[in-house]
Symmetry: C2
Subunit: 242 residues, 2 copies
């Protein structure tokens, strides 16, 4: 089995949280198996989740800030701000991306949403016509691991929260990761985390270890990745939006 | 028809954006009809979308930051930070909340997600057992208005983005607003906004005006609102999560 590079995108404000324990268990297990692990600890690194002109060291249009226009310009000229360039390199290096977060208001924390908006920019993560089965990161894998206050009974079509994959995680998994071409692992959920006792938490840690090791053992094909997506987009294909 | 109070929660970094035009059209139409309108312009107001101890002027547990524990403590003692207290008052005053944003990576911008995490706190927006048909803000209304680069053909079950309400907007609408007890209006979507010409945009503005005036004309019943949700939760019902 070839050693892989795994990026853990982690979001929780408390270093002693159960989410931190899950992150550490995944990290240690993957390194122990010979893989290379990089962690984007978004809260600890003070990641700014807000889109803006600070995303770029260049300006395509000083009169009006149109986000994708500026992103395309930065992708063509290598002028993303250092924090975004750093995260994009981590993404580009990763065979497998593992997200670890608590489910807040039915989705990942805002800091993860903002990480996606800024890092997975037009011209880096996607471009016109390059999505899903023609996505930029085809051949690579992604996996969601999360905690939820909800028990298993809350999830499922017709239950209070709805189906985990086709509803709750639809935004992140389908409209985000699959859109970019990633092949998804089944999500890992520590259900009812606040009310799970010590033994139950040890069991969750053990289950996550098994899951991430299995995910990392699967083949990836980096030859499918589109390294310069804008080369495939005719100039002017993108019309500016106000 | 009774005059209503409408909160517009608005997120776009560019003051000259089409989203700003939609916000302004809704604002002017509602005021013209005699309603009171308050706008939370999240980017312009520099709203901080990151959860943390800065959310509170109190500390329930200095050893470990557990978000809902601190939120419950602040709700009981009136110790939310000024920015959160201001937004909570706006929410509490509003008969109708209108969200206006561009769809980024399949969802609202991170600044709106973070607004929800911080403002719609445990003890203010929900509490144990108070959700959906027992939600805190029953009797009030909410409506999503958004722009999307995608055309109508991208939406719908089985299409690239999936069904608008049961998949794309599930997090915000069902796991957020309906969870809190709000009655939802049909979402308003300006499809294919970047590629819509001037006449098409005027038509969208006109359609939104019609929609928000109709929504504001519908009855609300503020007597159904639970003003002190934690009074209904036994002490200790909430177990601390690490």
């Amino acid at each position: 089995m070839a050693a892989k590079t795994i990026l853990i995108v982690y979001a929780h404000p408390e270093p002693a949280s159960f989410n931190a324990a899950l992150r550490d268990r995944a990290h240690e297990a993957l390194e122990g198996a010979g893989h290379r692990v990089v962690v984007s600890d978004l809260y600890a690194e003070g990641f700014n989740p807000l889109a803006g002109r600070h995303d770029f060291t260049s300006v395509a249009n000083p009169a009006i800030f149109h986000y994708q226009t500026e992103q395309a310009h930065a992708a063509r000229h290598g002028t993303f701000a250092p924090d975004i360039a750093r995260e994009q390199k981590r993404v580009a290096d990763a065979d497998l991306i593992l997200f670890q977060f608590p489910l807040w208001w039915g989705g990942p924390p805002a800091i993860i949403k903002g990480w996606g908006e800024r890092v997975l920019a037009y011209g880096f993560g996607y471009a016109d016509g390059l999505r899903y089965d023609t996505g930029v990161f085809r051949g690579r894998r992604a996996m969601v691991s999360m905690t939820s206050g909800g028990t298993t009974a809350r999830f499922g079509a017709g239950n209070a929260y709805g189906d985990l994959q086709s509803q709750v995680l639809w935004q992140l998994q389908h409209l985000g990761l699959e859109y970019m071409g990633y092949e998804l692992e089944e999500p890992f959920v520590a259900y009812g985390a606040p009310r799970t006792d010590h033994a139950g938490r040890l069991e969750y840690l053990s289950q996550l270890e098994t899951r991430v090791l299995a995910a990392a053992a699967k083949p990836v094909d980096r030859s499918l990745t589109i390294t310069n997506p804008l080369d495939l987009v005719p100039d002017g294909a993108w019309k500016q939006q106000r």
